[in-house]
Symmetry: D3
Amino acid sequence: MTKKHKVMALDAGPPDRLEAEIAEYFRKCEEKLGFVPNVFRAYAFDNAKLKAFILMADNLMLGDSGLSKTEREMIAVAVSAINHCHYCLTSHGAALRQRGKDPELGEVIAQNYRAAGLDRRQKAMLDFAAKLTEAPDKIEEADREALRKAGFSDRDICDIAAVVSFYNMSNRMAAAADMRPNTEYHYWVRERSEEAASPALKRLPARAPVTTASASPRRRSARGD
Amino acid sequence: MTKKHKVMALDAGPPDRLEAEIAEYFRKCEEKLGFVPNVFRAYAFDNAKLKAFILMADNLMLGDSGLSKTEREMIAVAVSAINHCHYCLTSHGAALRQRGKDPELGEVIAQNYRAAGLDRRQKAMLDFAAKLTEAPDKIEEADREALRKAGFSDRDICDIAAVVSFYNMSNRMAAAADMRPNTEYHYWVRERSEEAASPALKRLPARAPVTTASASPRRRSARGD
Amino acid sequence: MTKKHKVMALDAGPPDRLEAEIAEYFRKCEEKLGFVPNVFRAYAFDNAKLKAFILMADNLMLGDSGLSKTEREMIAVAVSAINHCHYCLTSHGAALRQRGKDPELGEVIAQNYRAAGLDRRQKAMLDFAAKLTEAPDKIEEADREALRKAGFSDRDICDIAAVVSFYNMSNRMAAAADMRPNTEYHYWVRERSEEAASPALKRLPARAPVTTASASPRRRSARGD
Amino acid sequence: MTKKHKVMALDAGPPDRLEAEIAEYFRKCEEKLGFVPNVFRAYAFDNAKLKAFILMADNLMLGDSGLSKTEREMIAVAVSAINHCHYCLTSHGAALRQRGKDPELGEVIAQNYRAAGLDRRQKAMLDFAAKLTEAPDKIEEADREALRKAGFSDRDICDIAAVVSFYNMSNRMAAAADMRPNTEYHYWVRERSEEAASPALKRLPARAPVTTASASPRRRSARGD
Amino acid sequence: MTKKHKVMALDAGPPDRLEAEIAEYFRKCEEKLGFVPNVFRAYAFDNAKLKAFILMADNLMLGDSGLSKTEREMIAVAVSAINHCHYCLTSHGAALRQRGKDPELGEVIAQNYRAAGLDRRQKAMLDFAAKLTEAPDKIEEADREALRKAGFSDRDICDIAAVVSFYNMSNRMAAAADMRPNTEYHYWVRERSEEAASPALKRLPARAPVTTASASPRRRSARGD
Amino acid sequence: MTKKHKVMALDAGPPDRLEAEIAEYFRKCEEKLGFVPNVFRAYAFDNAKLKAFILMADNLMLGDSGLSKTEREMIAVAVSAINHCHYCLTSHGAALRQRGKDPELGEVIAQNYRAAGLDRRQKAMLDFAAKLTEAPDKIEEADREALRKAGFSDRDICDIAAVVSFYNMSNRMAAAADMRPNTEYHYWVRERSEEAASPALKRLPARAPVTTASASPRRRSARGD
């Protein structure tokens, strides 16, 4: 593989002088993940854009929700699979393997969620994600109703829609810029899950940030996980 | 037409208690647009989501950029046309008619930008927007190179990509929720442009915010417009 | 917007010497619409082609039918939206705003009929139109049956099919020739419908021809409208 | 094969009383083709629709044009192949085998024109036909220019566009109604072309109408054929 | 039609020295079909590839199966119609006309199986074939279940899947190489079926080989045919 | 993840009594891979089908060719990514990581080969693979010529086409049957390549078969690898 060392194919200029808040955020990433995700470095030419992106990503993936964090990562990965997004499949594939504590689940969702043997709730969730990604103009009341029948509240549907939509944005941003993921992600949580439990815990801090887009430790999901 | 009076098809719960900052933002919208855009009301169940959305939208559409504000609205509308997004075609169609001071241009971009007789720069910009919307997985260096040849800097390309990506998110959020635009938008800047100059100015305040997603008056585009 | 003043991008030669019947038809257009629709001028190089086109268009859009004239315009606009046809969205968008006496309805059908909150009959009609436009090879008896269940007779289905098919022809003819609509259409019936009632009537002659493709006043729809 | 004996799947009511002009046209069809094409019988419930259809079809396929009649049949068949139209592939496939005096050419165009080893002119013509059929919204000046470079005049391009557009209409009409071709077409001009010359001439009258949509003998193509 | 005399557009080198087993197979083809199918000549540069192809094709199309040989040819032709494969539509179209003893059935399947008026079993079979061809990633348990409900065993479903999959391979091989069918196929079984019975028998040897890909006479279908 | 323990979703009956040749082949798989690939078990109900499949797969992936074995695995994985095939992405993803001695390359090709920074030869090879997979009917001489310009001989193009075509078959077979890969594949060659060199060699036998579809050690590629 011809190595590409830059963060992205666009030269957006030198990094902005990091605001204190962002600098502290980056420090936490280094501490917890061992690196600053390249998507943040890609945005580093402009603090305002970077902050807006982090704020939205953290809220969606780590904020309170009727969806578990694992489910939100499942959506991120399923959408990115449809859009064939190298950056997001690598980073969120890693996050999903870690969240789900299951390397095989992470991989099958990155390939084709229909082969994952999901339960009815999660299958309905990803069916909606696939249709909203591929044909947003054809979403109808029947599609929302199918989610309600699978047990989701209207507020949950908002959250599903928001995550699907966010990765349809991120996938395109990464594609446009040929954004390159940190190589560390490729190697996260690749051991069989029985064994993975301890090395993963060892390798990551106890209050592991768990999302690729955030190092903020204080959020929690209403669903637990 | 069967009237639909709600803001969206999902009942995400009662509005959050507006933070002072948001409340002030809404007040400015009322003052300048005559209404609060429904997209904000749709997000009103959660201040954090609302703030993140406003922050990103304002930065993209009103912040400094090598793209004029009209060009950014052209991208918003061209992407929304491909995705057949009722909400965004209505609100950003209105914004583009106003920005461009040309009701016909706003309409043709909402129909098919290829029929607009655009100059080379703007044609290249929207060709990229169309490909990134329809087939993000097929973007290659040649696509970025085509933009550079049309006169865009790498920083400009970041901005084009960001606006395209943002509306691929917003279009899907609107589709998922069946979000309904404020009816006022339908009637903005519909007079022939020669005549429109004065009534439009009269109808809107002098420092008109001009974008559908922001009431913040203080930003300016590097390109002017 | 770079202005384009010609009727189309193809130079098909000088206009044929108008036959008396056509000349009279054009005169009526001028009298009633204030202009001769550009689609007729585009065909003016050949009287035979022009007559065949007018004959078919008038029969479909103004002849007796179980479909109201507004419904036929809804089909014209919904098909043209899928095909992103600048000419037909402009001219039939105008006709639909006028027929339906509702500027908002005209616009939402031109964007995405699924967002229009249509009743079951009209929703079924446009669902069929969309499928016949996008995937004619996949139409099956079940599709015809869905129309029958929504209350359409077989004769009505013939009419729906004929209008859908006709605009799949016209959209392509306009795209191939880059046909440009008369600018007047952009400004038709843009006032809020409550107010629109009288100015529209004032602006147009009492026996307004109402279709973009015909000036013939004597036809009537079996359904009224 | 389960036999289907009706002309179409829709019951549009009893045939209209044939006007004298139409009755004479049908008589000529019987005389020259040995049958009245089912598409005419399908429209027979309404003389006005039938006349408009015949007028347009005859003008396009048999009128003066820079395209040979064989080329026009090639377009009809290539478009119908993309749309998988049983009726038109059967009837115009037969017409093309006869026009081109080459059963193999008729068949390969009905399968995939790209496999036909066409010369540059006809390849360019069918490439345009394919794009206009599949993605009319993406036709641009470059597509017209490619036809000009292949030797077509703007008037010729009008004719190409008109034939492509007409069969995009006809294919959909046939699909919507499940129109069934006369079985005779299946057996037309199936002998190897060397031998076919004489039996074909014997089987058909000297001034053979040669198109499926017309029995009118008096038109001629400017290109001969 | 510009004649193309070569077997394919790729020059893969001189034919391998035929192994005795292959030479005998070719001899049988000559005896029974009157020619060696070009697909075999295309592979003749490598005995190993040729043998593997023949082995798989013969097993699928002539081996024991719950599907009749005619049904397997129906699948071959329906898949090739979706992929617009000139080679396979010509050769398997001929085989299907012969197997089904019905020139019209062979032709309608090559055009659009949905127009063939098939019974429920065969319609379900080809619906599955179409979906597996067009969107293999979207096949779900419900698709297999639909086949079971139409009367197919799981073993039958394996056979349907195998034939669909095989022609998705063959169609692509033929497209990549621009493979050209033997012209004889065009003329097979073109007479009306009532009359065809005897001439077809006369023109072909008594123990007609029946498949385009095999001359092996000893296999039989469990279903008869 | 809901575990699915069966080899596929279809019950094709009990395994055939393995022929000696196949039994020996399975024994070698066990010895070298540590397991018999599930695709072979899926076919085990019929020795003839199994042998034909193995013969073709081994010839394509391990036989002499101008393409290296790594390149053939790249094609297998790139095609399977487009078709979102869980089975083949898992098994050939593993094979590609091993062949290429590069876990990251294996993963990026399974996501989107356009992000892999490939050299011109391999990029051209996979561009052809993508087009042949997505739109076989649109392959033209220009596509073959692009491969020749990238340095491929006509014989190489045959091999590229054959591998692309084979995985378009296998992907569909796996999708139709919901075939499930051996879990071992998920864990192959996941260490960083610098370190991977020795553990991989240790974990696998010296003459490692390296392909998922074969245990035959004696073939070699003309290109080495």
